[in-house]
Symmetry: C2
Subunit: 423 residues, 2 copies
């Protein structure tokens, strides 16, 4: 089954909003074996919406339309659908009642403008929206399916999960499509490609491999299409084992098993806790660790020691050493990690100190230089990285390097020591 | 001048990569008065690329093609262009030499696969890539311009800034288009709409207003198109002053003046420093503050007190109070802010303590509850917010609420006190 995504909003064209809805929809549909063949973004312009809708319906059985269902004057999707498909808008009293109830629950009267959200093009079925005011719309006719959803991400996601995806899953005649993401870190795209020399012999039109570089590492996306689910699984397994053998410890995890998720799992397995002392990453490392639900079981906390005085006073870095070696140095990274480990009572600790830029570099320590420290009860060390990049990406890459250092350390602990030593 | 963006990559369709390139391109072009009328994403499939290219050229004078120029077997853009436009690929020795030099600078031999990046369709002009191996491509013919750029964001951005945008800027006959973003926070879309009742009389096809909700607040995008720059400026000024009068202190800043930028500017103006104590935001508040270049002049640092013991031992929260009132309480928020302010030696401090979820809620303190504290030399207080949302958005919304509390506090300081009191 093929799908085209039609995302609507001037803000997408003007670049003031990143089209995360398209990515989310793509992942959800692809994961269910529905092939997204094209994504279009058009403005809040009924004619452009209509042209895109006609193009999409001619190309795919399923068209997902997203955005432009809000209450404001720049939301034109409802009227565009009505005009384009010759299906006049009708006021649905039961929707109006739901929208009024939504506002009542928040102790407010419905603004008059929200009334338009109770309008439905003839023949469309409204999809109730439990988390917002804009109902979705569903049309099934001889040309296929049109599902229309609000552009607010959590409303879109709720309506997709609760109504649209279950309905699509019930439709017959789909080939088996399997996807698998292999997450790597600390190795570039070209080096990966070289390690995987020979993989081409396993690839064809139905067995594909894509390299997806990002600040936290390169992800490898494997896609296999086969007449049966079993054949797809077999082909995927062969490709996967070929790759895993060659990338070794550069492999972090599958699919959603990002660095922070894997590090969290290893910490739980070892019964260990972690703390972080951040300078150049400025809180991003802690933010990343705490993005995992349940992180409170192994994350003690962190200190963002942006000012050097904080490194000395809160983390106990030796002020003479700091003056002599500079904040971006091996010894300061080690002392930061040791300091935060002791003060926050963690078994293991990470530290980051570097030059995020764009200013502050020197010939000796150019922008992008970062020392990452690791301390546990037995030892402490630091490693130097050179990650020249714009500020945000520098923080992300340094965070990935720190998490990877911890990941390798914990993997070694798991192999060579008993858990009790870390418990 | 109209443009269509054609972004290429299976990963965009499968949703494993968010199309940030499209947003970046949209913003850059729009900002220069070039109207992006449509964005398409298609897979690494030469036929789909060709269909999209033909559609785009029929619709707009400028087509920006992005992605699929890498060295790996899933990069098909080069051959698709050659086949589609009937312009056979030719090996350019000077490009090959540049690519080899790129690898030599990194102390490595060029992998054989990168050789394909020296292929150029007949009649295209290569655009040298100073930051990567894939050169861009430029075609100008009777149908308009096709600019082809690598999909790696910083390569794309470098080639656009250095070559493509300057070339487009030189082309004649563009109407004046002005954009202005008004950033608001702490007010919902419907409430904004009500405050702006009557704005419709100022709007028409050439004067537009869009509401762009996000976790940090609603941004209002104003777009004005006029025959002359002066007429556009006048119309924009009228619309802007109408809106600013009505949104009052909910207005944060223009365009790039986000909460963290405005807070940083106010701190610098007052000669004040800030520190943060975070529980539920887990480092995101510090990360946000340090995303601004130059933050080191006013940001002392922070403590991520995820574990309650860290709140007591590092921040000095009273353990009896914590046991009695719970970590998510007014008094603990106040003590966290006071503690981090004293220990890190800042003039003003923020704190966050709440329940991010998805677990940990109680009937009294449901998931989404957050206390935000603020302390300075003279006073300390905390305010309770209810921000039920998924984990990442909760952190973002709580961070916005904290920064907004600080923003209002600093604005008041600026009005009622002399800077010296804060210096």
């Amino acid at each position: 089954m093929k799908a085209v995504l039609l995302t609507i909003g001037d803000e997408l064209l003007a670049g003031t909003t990143v089209n995360t809805n398209a990515a989310w929809l793509g992942a959800e549909l692809t994961g269910r074996g529905i092939t997204v063949v094209r994504i279009e973004a058009v403005g809040d312009d009924p004619e452009a919406i209509c042209r895109a809708l006609r193009r999409a319906r001619a190309e795919a059985e399923v068209v997902i339309v997203c955005g432009g269902l809000g209450p404001t004057h720049d939301d034109r999707t409802r009227e565009a659908l009505a005009d384009c498909l010759g299906r006049p808008l009708q006021l649905r009293p039961e929707l109006l009642a739901q929208i009024e109830a939504h506002f009542r629950r928040r102790g407010r009267a419905m603004p008059e403008r929200n009334r338009v959200q109770a309008l439905v093009p003839e023949g469309f079925e409204p999809i109730p929206n439990p988390v917002g005011t804009a109902p979705g719309l569903w049309l099934e006719d001889e040309a296929g399916i049109v599902a229309v959803l609000p552009g607010v991400p959590h409303e879109l996601q709720t309506l997709m999960r609760e109504v649209v995806l279950p309905r699509l899953a019930q439709r017959p005649g789909r080939p088996a499509i399997l996807h698998r993401m292999l997450i790597t870190t600390g190795i570039g795209e070209s080096d990966l490609q070289q390690r995987l020399a020979g993989v081409e012999s396993l690839l064809d039109e139905h067995t594909r491999l894509a390299y997806l570089p990002g600040p936290y590492g390169v992800r490898l996306r494997l896609t296999v299409e086969a007449p049966t689910a079993e054949a797809a699984r077999e082909r995927l397994a062969a490709l996967e084992s070929f790759i895993l053998e060659r990338i070794g410890e550069r492999f972090v995890g599958f699919d959603e098993e990002t660095l922070e998720v894997v590090v969290g799992r290893l910490l739980r397995e070892l019964g260990a806790t972690v703390a972080v002392a951040e300078s150049c990453t400025g809180g991003h490392l802690a933010d990343c660790i705490t993005s995992v639900s349940g992180a409170s079981t192994y994350f003690r906390g962190g200190v963002v020691a942006y000012d050097n005085a904080v490194k000395v006073e809160v983390l106990g870095v030796d002020s003479e050493v700091l003056a002599r070696e500079g904040a971006v140095s091996e010894i300061v990274a080690i002392q930061m990690a040791q300091g935060v480990r002791e003060r926050l009572g963690a078994q293991v600790a990470l530290s980051t100190t570097g030059i995020a830029g764009p200013t502050g570099g020197t010939p000796d320590k150019p922008v992008g230089t970062v020392w990452i420290g690791l301390a546990d009860a037995h030892s402490a060390f630091a490693r130097c990285y050179y990650l020249p990049d714009e500020r945000r990406r520098f923080k992300q890459r340094a965070t990935a390097a720190a998490l990877d250092l911890l990941r390798l350390h914990l993997l070694q602990q798991k192999v060579t020591k008993t858990a009790s030593q870390y418990g």
